[in-house]
């Protein structure tokens, strides 16, 4: 990463030292210029921006459009320097109020898709030179899906992992029976198969963009579905719904991952799916157990478990459960939605006063 910054020295063959800047805040534009060779410090630039736009007492996020049309942030000296040095012919600045910043807008492929594609085709070097910049707050992100095992699967297949935990989105897809054509030593043969029949709008499956209607389902969590009935496959998927890994043969074979390309690593997962499954295996073990202390004989049945649990949970001063009104059911259902994240308790459980909550 640093290597790319080092390269971003002022270009020698530029005769004009001034860089034209077009800065946009809301609907307002301001034009000014900075010195290409000595752009100065980021802090000065930041103050300049606030001054020019007359928004002195505001926290803002400054972004710029790079040569590929990507919106990238300017928040330190390095990327400021980079922004100025690569501006051609002008530096386009976008200002957003800090509280309104939509991080999803940052990153590659955000502003001008078409242009970028053209650039990429024309000059592959550009790709390599593109700076790698931290552009968001990763602790707020969790994977919702990934393509895995690209290196061990045939190119025509795709193994998709849907992470349901932590998301309120439904998995949101339907499967059906169908026939698929297989190549056998005796020629083409029609065999029954399982296909995705529908994606629920707004569901996890649809939002990933990795599954499509009429994709053939080949495996569920590593187990082949051939010979299994629609109901069996349904039950298998539901049983694995907390961490569903579906291997499909996409109906659209044009978007296949090309083996050996850099993107294969982008899932960030080790290629060994079984290893990673084991990791998540423990997730599913997280049955919720509520045990009430029954040691004190003074506690007659009127000391309800719900009350006790309520008290104990409050001792943990967990904000997620503050609102609990003593109904065990409500506590449970709040636990159910996302046990790991809404309840920031350490794994293995907290013991206090005989009552145990194991997560």
């Amino acid at each position: 990463m640093n290597r790319s910054f080092n390269k971003s020295q002022p270009l020698r063959n530029v005769d004009c030292n001034a860089v034209e800047v077009k800065s946009k805040y809301g609907a307002e534009f301001r034009r000014f210029s900075v010195d290409r060779v000595k752009p100065g410090k980021f802090e000065e630039f930041y103050k300049l921006i606030l001054h020019i736009h007359r928004i002195a007492n505001m926290e803002v996020m400054i972004g710029y459009a790079d040569v590929h049309g990507d919106l990238l942030p300017i928040n330190n000296d390095d990327n400021f320097c980079k922004a100025v040095s690569t501006a051609h012919p002008l530096l386009r600045i976008f200002i957003q109020r800090q509280e309104e910043v939509d991080y999803a807008n940052f990153g590659t492929n955000t502003i001008t898709r078409k242009k970028k594609a053209v650039v990429a085709l024309r000059n592959n070097d550009v790709n390599r030179k593109r700076p790698h910049i931290r552009i968001g707050m990763p602790q707020d992100f969790r994977p919702v899906s990934s393509i895995i095992d690209v290196d061990i699967l045939p190119e025509s297949h795709r193994r998709v992992r849907l992470y349901r935990h932590g998301s309120d989105k439904p998995l949101g897809f339907y499967i059906r029976d169908g026939t698929s054509v297989r190549v056998t030593p005796h020629g083409l043969e029609k065999v029954p198969g399982i296909f995705i029949s529908r994606l629920v709008p707004g569901g996890l499956a649809e939002s990933t963009g990795l599954l499509a209607v009429n994709d053939e389902v080949l495996e569920v969590n590593g187990i082949e579905v051939t010979g299994k009935s629609l109901d069996q496959v349904t039950d298998m998927m539901i049983a694995n719904s907390h961490n569903l890994i579906v291997t499909v043969k996409p109906v659209n074979q044009r978007n296949n991952v090309v083996r050996g390309s850099r993107i294969s690593g982008s899932s960030g997962q080790s290629s060994d799916s079984s290893g990673s499954t084991d990791d998540l295996e423990s997730d599913e073990d997280a049955d919720i157990v509520i045990e009430s202390s029954l040691k004190r004989p003074s506690q007659r049945s009127n000391a309800s478990l719900a009350y006790q649990l309520h008290r104990d949970l409050n001792l943990h001063s967990n904000p997620a459960l503050r609102h609990s009104n003593g109904s065990l059911h409500k506590i449970l259902s709040s636990l159910k939605t996302d046990p790991r994240h809404s309840l920031a308790l350490p794994r293995g459980g907290v013991e206090e006063d005989g009552t145990v909550i194991t997560l």
Binding site: Y174, I175, S197, A239, L335
Partner: protein, 990 residues
């Protein structure tokens, strides 16, 4: 080295598995579904029933049964035993004939198919020429006469099925000699009946559909006599002295014709329409049998006045002045009469009637002709079975009391022994007494002796008496008022009409040590009953339990709860109710368990569960499990599930109504009908075109029926700390939740006055949220805790309370073991995630080794929704064996399955039949019987049976098949051969 050793251990385990587990379907109990043909061999004393699915079943003395299945999936239309032989011939719907025999093998008889045959006509002839309509097995035992639709009679030599073309009786031969004045001579139609002259085997009577009967001499090959009946012929009977022929006709008449001499224009001697004046239905079969002294018995089926009683299924029996029309509740398939005497030529002793839903045997020698109780073929479905419960190893005392109570109920049965006594039952006496309890739709519970091959009815409990029902007690059975004509008498016990579906029994739990029984039904009623040898009049007080516990905003949309009789009710000896709980809302009870030592009953519905103290008659605990957002649980039964069926039915009704109205008003309004038809078609098309698709969604707490209680379990275990064990109650719900309550029981001396209390102790929410179908606590040795009172009766080892207990939670998707008292996951076995099948039924069973007598282990027996049975080891929850058992499409079969404590199981293969299977190598109940060839023709049959084995060279194809079948049967038998021999030795020593 290590790897080698482990391999050795595995193979050792494999060997042990073979010694412990083995899958067999052993015997079918109950009444065959859709019987279509009946046959009887007086010499063998065997009864044969053919069914529409192509099965053939033979029954003799109790315990003697054989079953065969035709390869063709065609209905059996006729069954005929070869006279005085062990062979029988079946005719199938596809016009094929099959020869079966009972062959001895290792001291047991087996039913084997030894030949098949289809008539081939001359080339180019229409298929009707060879379509068999009548079969006569000639007394010579060597000939079959086959009458066909074309009117020909073909003669075939058996057992080889060789056509004797030169002896065939063609229609032309017969038609040529028919008197010119016979009205129907141009078309005699098909051969309806073939009968042999009882005193001259060379004479047969051929009855044609048009009415003409011809007596034919087989030797001279010519017609001797023509009987010119003019009504459509239904059946023919040649009286025993050979002097008369009886014919029955489609207009409800029967005629008697003198047989004799050359007088061609023989007039009918007597003709009668027994239920005459108005048009009558056909008499389908007629029999006349002589008695030693006095007038003969005349029996015929049908013949009822068409308009008023056309829907009755009747057999009329006339003897002397007695005339009774036996009125059956289902269609008559066939009937025959058993006669006294060694040669079976004496007085009629019993009438055997096969109707569609049961077999009824009537004692003709006792006054009033009472029914003889059948020891097998009992209609399990006299009212539809709604649940079943199996109890193994019943103590003798309880057994005898149940039998005594049952005998008091059976006083209306004949005292005569069962008249069908063929074959010898060689099966060893069952090692223990087993009870199978079936709950029925009409609120009855039937107790069956399930120890052996015959599922014998012991006792019947009715719970309807506790409640007010719409049924009028004087509704049936009391009919037949003086002077009624025809003189009906209701017989048979098949009565599928329930007075009130709310009475249906849904759960049963019997404690075999204390004799306490609890049953629960469709309208949320839970009855606790006690066995009492005396009749008692008592009031049953109802306790209403509100399971919603003040949860607001719900309105129950289902049925109301049952009205309880407030006045004292007289209960006959047997199980008498003394406590009644009624759930509110009155939803069907989905879980029930009884602890007779603690005198507690736990019950659950889709709304919650409760604990009832039946000694103090009050509720200890009520817990609402209903999810506040679950509205479906308030709908009541079947409101949405049946909607497609309902809409279809409605469309049919609409059509029918429109048709009826068309006819009624004579309106030429075909448009309406077409419209209705189109609507139906559209609906059907919609059903077919809508793609079958399944939603993939994780279970959530908001799903419907998550609060439905699936299982309840009592355990004495370590709930709070590892040093003190306490009584506890466990409940598992449809939403994957397990609740545990610690129970505090007062000391025995204060049991009657101090309250029992329950405190919530644990709650486990399984992350995968699959329904919890079973909960078991394992003791320190990893063995399941014994049943209540089992230890007190010295029938079980007391549980190990030293080591730490474990909790096994069985959900539909996986088996999971937790530690106790602190609940943390220990190990699990995933089922659904791996192969997509789900647990439907689960039971704990004890398996003994077939080789090492003192080795045994307990395991979980599991039936999945795919119809496979698995055995899962305890306590390590490892899959042991897996066998396919039930077709996965057979949902009702899978739902009906019940396991025994010794690795056997029962499931319904039809509404009226249980299939019994065994997973154990040691506990097998299967028929073992021997049928020997009849004595008086012993020489001929031996001559026949021996070449059968030897002549395999020239009947190659069939025999090789036979050999295969034989081998297979032999193989399956060999497994238990040893135990069989042992048992024999034991009985010999004893």
């Amino acid at each position: 080295m290590k790897r080698f050793r482990r391999h050795g251990q595995e193979s050792q385990r494999d060997r042990l598995k073979q010694e412990l587990f083995q899958f067999n379907k052993t015997v079918e109990h109950g009444f065959p579904h859709q019987p279509s043909a009946l046959g009887y061999s007086p010499s063998l004393q065997l009864l044969a029933i053919g069914t529409r699915s192509g099965a053939i079943k033979l029954y003799g003395a109790p315990g003697v049964e054989f079953m065969g299945l035709h390869d063709e999936n065609a209905a059996v239309t006729q069954v005929h035993f070869m006279p005085h032989q062990v062979e029988l011939v079946t005719l199938l719907d596809d016009n094929s004939l099959h020869m079966w025999t009972l062959r001895g093998h290792k001291g047991l008889s087996e039913l084997l198919e030894i030949g098949r045959f289809t008539l081939t006509g001359p080339p180019g002839a229409p298929p009707s020429v060879t379509r068999v309509t009548a079969v006569l097995a000639h007394t010579s035992g060597e000939l079959l006469l086959l009458g066909t639709e074309g009117g020909h009679v073909f003669i075939v030599e058996v057992p080889g099925f060789r056509e004797l073309e030169e002896r065939n009786i063609s229609l032309d031969q017969v038609a040529a000699s028919v008197p010119d004045d016979y009205i129907g001579r141009r078309n005699l139609e098909h051969v309806e009946a073939l009968q042999e002259n009882p005193i001259n085997p060379n004479q047969v009577v051929i009855g044609y559909g048009r009415g003409l009967m011809v007596i034919w001499d087989l030797e001279k090959r010519c017609a001797i006599q023509h009987i010119p009946a003019t009504q459509q012929l239904e059946s023919v009977w040649w009286t025993e002295d050979g002097s008369y022929i009886l014919s029955s006709h489609s207009d409800g008449s029967y005629c008697r014709w003198m047989v004799g001499g050359e007088d061609v224009n023989d007039e009918e001697e007597k003709s009668d329409i027994p239920y005459g004046h108005f048009p009558c239905k056909a008499i389908s079969k007629i029999i006349q049998l002589p008695t030693e002294e006095g007038p003969p018995f005349l029996l015929f089926s049908g013949g009822m006045p068409r308009a008023s009683y056309g829907d009755r299924h009747c057999i009329t029996v006339i003897h002397c002045k007695t005339h009774v029309a036996l009125d059956f509740t289902s269609r008559i398939i066939d009937f025959f009469v058993i006669r006294d005497g060694l040669q079976h030529t004496g007085d009629p002793s019993a009438l055997v009637v096969l109707v569609e839903e049961e077999l009824v045997v009537i004692d003709l020698q006792t006054d009033c002709w009472p029914v003889i109780q059948t020891p097998y073929l009992v209609p399990l479905h006299s009212s539809a079975i709604t649940c079943s419960h199996h109890v193994s190893a019943i103590p003798l005392k309880l057994w005898e009391r149940v039998i005594a109570a049952g005998e008091l109920q059976n006083t209306h049965y004949s005292k005569k022994p069962w008249p069908i006594t063929g074959g010898q039952n060689l099966a060893p006496d069952p090692p223990q007494r087993d009870l199978l309890l079936t709950g029925h739709e009409d609120g009855t519970v039937h107790f069956w002796d399930a120890s052996g091959v015959c599922l014998y009815p012991l006792y019947k409990l009715s719970t309807a008496g506790v409640f007010h029902t719409d049924a009028d007690p004087n509704d049936n059975m009391n009919q037949g008022a003086e002077g009624e004509w025809p003189p009906f008498r209701k017989v048979g016990c098949f009565d599928p009409y329930s007075d009130d579906p709310r009475l249906g029994i849904q759960k049963i739990h019997l404690c075999k040590y204390s004799g306490y029984l609890t049953v629960a039904g469709t309208a949320g009623q839970i009855l606790v009953l006690e066995l009492n040898d005396e009749a008692a009049e008592q009031t049953v007080e109802a306790k209403v339990v509100d399971l919603l516990q003040g949860q607001e905003g719900f309105r129950w949309k289902g049925h109301t709860r049952l009205d309880v009789r407030e006045e004292p009710v007289l209960f006959p000896p047997g199980f008498q109710p003394f406590a009644l709980v009624q759930c509110q809302p009155p939803a069907v009870v989905t879980a029930l368990t009884l602890h007779s030592e603690w005198k507690l009953v736990a019950f659950g519905t889709s709304h919650g569960f409760g604990l009832y103290d039946y000694q103090q008659k009050n509720t200890v605990l009520i817990k609402c499990t209903l999810n506040p957002s679950d509205q479906l649980a308030m709908e009541g039964p079947l409101s949405r599930v049946k909607s497609i069926k309902k809409s279809l039915r409605q469309s049919f009704r609409r059509i029918r109504r429109s048709r009826v109205s068309l006819r009624k008003h004579h309106v030429n309004n075909t448009a309406k009908l077409q419209e209705a038809n189109a609507r139906l078609e559209a609906e059907l098309a919609e059903m077919e075109l809508a793609p079958v698709q399944r939603k993939i969604e994780a279970r959530s707490s908001d799903d419907s029926f998550t609060g439905l209680v699936r299982t309840l379990y009592f355990a004495d275990t370590f709930l709070s700390d590892s040093s003190h064990n306490t009584p506890s109650l466990w409940a598992g719900t449809n939403g994957g939740c397990v609740f545990a309550y610690m129970l505090r029981l007062p000391p025995v001396e204060h049991r009657a006055d101090e309250p029992v209390t329950a405190q919530p102790a644990k709650e486990i929410q399984l992350m995968h949220r699959a329904p919890v179908v079973g909960i078991v606590v394992l003791d320190g040795h990893g063995a399941p805790l014994p049943e209540p009172l089992e230890v007190a009766h010295d029938l079980a080892r007391s549980p190990d309370m030293q080591g730490s207990h474990q909790l096994l939670v069985i959900s539909e998707e996986q088996f999971k073991v937790f530690t106790l008292p602190k609940v943390s996951a220990k190990m699990k076995l995933k089922l659904t995630a791996v192969d997509g099948s789900r647990v439907r039924r689960v039971g704990v069973a004890w398996f003994c080794s077939s080789r090492t007598e003192d080795y045994g282990e307990s395991g979980l027996v599991v039936l999945t929704n795919q119809g496979d049975v698995h055995v899962v080891s305890l306590p390590h929850v490892k899959m042991q064996v897996q066998y396919p058992c039930i077709r996965r499409e057979d949902v009702s079969g899978i739902a009906s399955c019940v396991f025994t404590k010794h690795g056997q199981g029962f499931y319904l293969i039809s509404p009226s039949e249980f299939e019994r299977f065994s997973l154990s190598t040691c506990y097998l109940v299967e028929p073992r019987c021997l049928v020997e060839a009849p004595l008086h023709s012993g020489s001929s049959s031996q001559r026949r049976s021996q070449p059968d084995g030897a002549s395999s060279t020239h009947r190659t194809r069939q025999d090789s098949e036979d050999a295969e079948v034989l081998q297979e049967i032999q193989k399956s038998l060999e497994g238990d051969q040893t135990s069989f021999l042992e048992n024999n030795v034991k009985s010999a020593v004893a």
